[in-house]
Amino acid sequence: MKRIFGFLLGLTLALLLTLFAGENPWNVFTILVRSAFGSMYDLGLTLSYTTPLIFCGLSVAIGFHAGLFNIGAEGQMTMAVVTAAAVGVLFPQVPFPLAPILAVLAALAAGGLWGWIAGWLRAERGSHEVIITIMMNFIAAGLAGWFALKIIPNPESQNPETALISPNYMFKDYDLIARLFPDTPANASLIFAIVIAVLMWIFLWKTAWGFKLRAVGANPEAAHRSGISEKKVQIAAMTLAGALAGFVALSEVVGSAGQYRIGFSPDYGFIGIAVALMASNNPLGIIVSAFLMGALHKGASDLDLETSTITRDFSRIIQALVILGVVAQGYWEWFKHKRRKG
């Protein structure tokens, strides 16, 4: 959370913008806070945004550690979510403890595959991962939409979504967090997300594999000379990134909605970039920054109702300015460092 100043700067700038709409920035701020944390219901929603943001933040961060910019978390997540829904709809007979595990494993495989493609193209063909992952996002959106609407649509609804997965796949009955925040999508996968973040921290900093991954990120040519296959590491990192984004299927499909709804994501994959940047790619920091971004997102949703001129899209403006603020802080540190040097 080194970048908290950037976050606050972006937030402040965004609030000051509301002056132009004739609002009182302080008033807007209190609405944001109340709407994000005001009641158990509000907090539950905030937490339900936090979970996928942790996963996507981790996905982006592991890419950065290997020197790769994964803009594809959105697409990897989409593939995973639609896969989990497909498994749940197409194999309704699988018994309970096995069913959610199967669905999540399938989701991880789908997300991992989506990351692997970009990683393989990067390592073996030299195609830049930014371009590839952006294109893979579009392919995922198209593919998932087609599959949801043409193959397993929800017969009982006009909404663009898949049919509901069999109840065997859901762990609602055992979910203490879901009980704590009734009527919200918050669920136990938040705990799981935190565990994964801690595991990733251990992986990166305490294992030889994590070191090799970071070595490739720090200097691929030196890593290569020392006997590390930078291609394998790049492919592995993108695959892991895809799988991490794929975990969103756990919170979204198995944990709460029970289906893939087109448009369920308010760009989790992209907000994940800001989440990772804000935490300087530290997995533990990502838990906190995901929570902050989740709170912002939830907070902005009530602006529609409580102000006369500001809509929920304002959260996009806040996000944009927060990203700019975070980047500006990074740039500022770099600049100070450079000036000290010369």
Binding site: A208, R214, A215, A218, E221, A223, R225, K341
Partner: protein
């Protein structure tokens, strides 16, 4: 007579680091003034302040007695100060003339017709002896010619004060001779030349006066004729240097560790043709040559043959035992500059510090600390990012990492490039120690002094071929230099 350049109490800090501290000396007009010192002694910083790249934190600079304050090199150039950087600033796909004219943008000169501009530059080149084919593309020219373009860039601006940063580092001995002749010509025309170097022989041969830097301070500034190589070396390091060893060969002829047979390889830009080379236990074989004559291909063949496709590499390389290398370009191939020292020590020997899946971080840090002490890698802080260490200390870590793994074969590529004298001595001794313990060493270097100090025999690589071989008893600079320039 007022001095052309005078430094008065110049200090420059980078954070906590004192790069220059209270530097004062003056440079007589129309003289060649050498600035010597170890890497990190602050000589480049001082010159960059003179050229307006850095602003001093204290003190002032006087040109011809007038205090000046440059906020950028543009100001410096307007005051007729020019600098040739160690790494050339040339647009390679363009012609020599284009590169020189680019510098003139905005001046009255730039308004002249191109033909006339070319004529003028030709005149300057003739006058000072810096001949270059102005219509050749820079990428097709040799390093020596590229350097001449850099100098012509400065001369065409009518600069009076020339700063040359390590100008001989990349040149063949022959090219160095030519450069010196031309620099003397410039001097006789009244130009003032400041030359940064760490080659003391060149200082003695070329300069009128010399200023010695050590650890950010100016320790001595005197006439060259009043000093000697031993004197200067002692001033630079702060102590007397030991004399190079006189050694009797103890090569173990019965034990061949590395044998290269009929090796040819083609990497596009650089090639190797028909290389044959054997390295025995307790032997150091030097490969001399100006860079770009196939050294990179040789290194690739030895370290990473898998990355070369079958058709681009033929011949046979046989190895008995383990191999460790000091990479030719430390920052690019050797280290993770942004990572702490102990992680850099770990690179390449992960298996030695792993238990199951996990790194034995405590053991790694303890071992790194120990290594930093025995190799005197400063500052003694294993958590510091490696990039914050001086070049010499970075290289010591690279050497330590390779040698503590007790390799049978050592590939030492430019082992002391950009390294200060104290560290050079240390690294040379470590290489000798490993040799005495039975290792075979392939030493690839463009420094004749280094090759002659360490090698049992020297082969010369020129345009991808081994064109000459010298036994230790026949080492001599002139014939080696000739062979390096292709004139065997």
């Amino acid at each position: 007579m007022t001095a052309a350049v005078e430094f008065k109490g110049i200090s420059k800090y980078f954070g906590e680091v004192r790069a220059n501290s209270d530097i004062s000396f003056s440079v007589a007009r129309g003289s060649i003034h050498a600035i010597v010192g170890e890497n990190g002694a602050g000589k480049s910083t001082a010159m960059k302040i003179l050229f307006g790249m850095y602003r001093p934190d204290a003190g002032e600079i006087l040109l011809n007695g007038q205090p000046v304050e440059f906020s950028s090199p543009i100001d410096a150039m307007a005051a007729k100060v020019g600098m040739v950087h160690q790494h050339f600033m040339l647009a390679e796909p363009y012609t020599a003339l284009d590169n020189i004219l680019l510098q003139q943008k905005g001046s009255a000169f730039a308004l002249l017709p191109r033909k006339e501009q070319a004529q003028r530059i030709n005149d300057i080149a003739d006058r000072y002896g810096f001949h270059v084919d102005l219509n050749a593309k820079v990428e097709d020219l040799s390093v020596g010619e590229q350097q001449r373009i850099e100098i012509l860039k400065i001369l065409s601006q009518d600069s009076d004060i020339l700063i040359l940063d390590e100008p001989t580092a990349v040149l063949t001995p022959q090219e160095v001779q030519d450069l010196f002749i031309n620099l003397r010509k410039l001097k006789s025309e009244g130009k003032t030349i400041l030359i940064i170097t760490h080659k003391l022989k060149e200082v003695m041969a070329l300069s009128d006066a010399v200023t010695v830097f050590r650890a950010g301070r100016m320790v001595e500034s005197k006439q060259t004729r009043d000093t000697s190589i031993e004197d200067l070396a002692a001033l630079m390091v702060g102590r007397r240097m030991q004399m190079p060893e006189e050694r009797v060969s103890t090569i173990d002829e019965s034990k061949t560790l590395l044998s290269i047979e009929n090796l040819s390889a083609d990497l596009g830009t650089h090639k190797l043709r028909n290389i044959n080379l054997n390295i025995k236990s307790r032997e150091i074989v030097g490969v001399a040559g100006v860079e770009g004559n196939g050294q990179d291909v040789l290194i690739r063949c030895l370290l990473d043959p898998k990355s070369l496709s079958k058709n681009s590499m033929t011949g046979n390389i046989q190895r008995q035992g383990s191999l460790q290398a000091f990479p030719e370009d430390r920052l690019r191939f050797g280290v993770l500059p942004s990572r702490p020292v102990y992680e850099n020590f770990l690179l390449g020997q992960e298996h030695r510090f792993t238990k199951g899946l996990f790194l034995k971080t405590r053991e790694l840090i303890a071992r790194t600390r120990e290594i930093m002490k025995t190799y005197d890698i400063r500052p003694h802080d294993e958590h510091l990012a490696l990039g914050k260490l001086s070049g010499g200390n970075q290289q010591k870590l690279v050497v330590a990492r390779a040698l503590t793994q007790k390799p049978d074969i050592i590939l030492a590529a430019q082992p002391t490039r950009g390294v200060d004298i104290g560290a050079i001595e240390f690294i040379h001794n470590e290489i000798r120690k490993s040799r005495d313990e039975g290792a075979g060493v392939l030493l690839i270097s463009s420094e004749l002094d280094e090759l002659m100090a360490l090698s049992d025999r020297i082969v010369v690589l020129y345009k991808g071929q081994l064109v000459a071989e010298f036994k230790r008893s026949d080492f001599n600079e002139t014939s080696l230099g000739k062979a390096m320039g292709g004139g065997h």
